[in-house]
């Protein structure tokens, strides 16, 4: 789950927002981009925490 995939998701959401005609649709796609970023942050944090715990020599 890399940065390129997150950028792709955000790009898709922004393009869909740009194409959307109704206000609710524009809001939906704007928030979709925000959700994709939030998901990316959680993935990064969880992976980082896991790596940190696995590579903590005190736990070996």
């Amino acid at each position: 789950m890399d940065e390129a995939e997150t950028e792709w998701l955000i790009g898709q959401a922004q393009a869909l927002q740009h194409q959307a005609v109704s206000y609710p649709d524009q809001a939906f796609y704007a928030e979709l981009a925000a959700f994709a970023e939030a998901q990316s942050r959680r993935l990064e944090q969880a992976q980082g925490e896991l790596d940190g715990r696995l590579w903590d020599h005190r736990g070996w």
Partner: protein, 224 residues
């Protein structure tokens, strides 16, 4: 989920905030909008899974309409039993910034303190109280904030636990696939929406796996 939205604003038609929320609620499957004063029969209470009390703060309390509705509604035989086990949501609009509602702030007390009667109410009725959804100074909010509110409000009306990231993720996938299903004349757009939904789902599965692995480590279980 069947959600009853009880709107305790004395002039809904003149309220920009309430009109915005009304439009946001309209497409939410299972949500019904009830403007006070109104009678809510016990059968309607029994049929819902979520009750949302929605009101502006007037002098730091709900308008009298809300208290009157509670008194009349809960006086009906079977009303309290009909609400037991359901969830209670609070959507509160206020004319001051949220930051004013804290010790040392302009108001000096928290919103939670002002909403304490509803905590007691939920306890008495055996209802699970959701964290409140606050709409502070709607008219001063940015367009981005309005867009975020629209989506958060729809999730508040329809998710079992609106604070659960996993449930929010599932909501996004469901909404994208529903929109894809509505694109009969635009197969390319439908395919694009489904691909976005699938990508979100794969990432959410990966997140769940990472969280399971972390839980295992905390529990002392070794990995492989």
């Amino acid at each position: 989920m069947k959600t009853l939205i009880i709107v305790g604003h004395p002039a809904v038609a003149e309220s920009t905030t309430q009109q915005f929320l009304k439009a946001a609620a309209a497409p939410v499957s299972g949500a019904s909008w009830h403007e006070l004063p109104a009678a809510t029969p016990v059968a309607q209470l029994a049929a819902c899974q979520r009750l949302v009390l929605q009101f502006p703060l007037y002098w730091y309390q709900a308008p009298a309409l809300v208290g009157t509705w509670l008194t009349q509604t809960l006086a009906q035989p079977g009303a309290t039993a009909a609400l037991a086990g359901k969830t209670l949501g609070l959507v509160v609009a206020c004319g001051q910034p949220e930051a004013a509602f804290q010790a040392g702030g302009r108001v000096g007390v928290t919103l939670d303190a002002l909403l304490a009667p509803y905590v007691a109410l939920a306890n008495k009725l055996g209802m699970h109280l959701l964290p409140k959804l606050v709409v502070a100074q709607f008219a001063y909010q940015s367009e981005a904030a309005h867009q975020a509110l629209l989506v958060r409000y729809q999730q508040y009306l329809s998710l079992q636990d609106p604070t659960s990231f996993a449930q929010v993720a599932a909501w996004w996938q469901t909404q994208l696939r529903r929109r894809a299903g509505q694109q009969a004349t635009e197969p390319a757009l439908a395919a694009r929406l489904r691909l976005v939904a699938d990508t979100l789902a794969t990432r959410q599965d990966a997140l769940a796996n990472l969280q399971d692995a972390l839980a295992d480590l905390e529990g002392g279980t070794t990995l492989g």
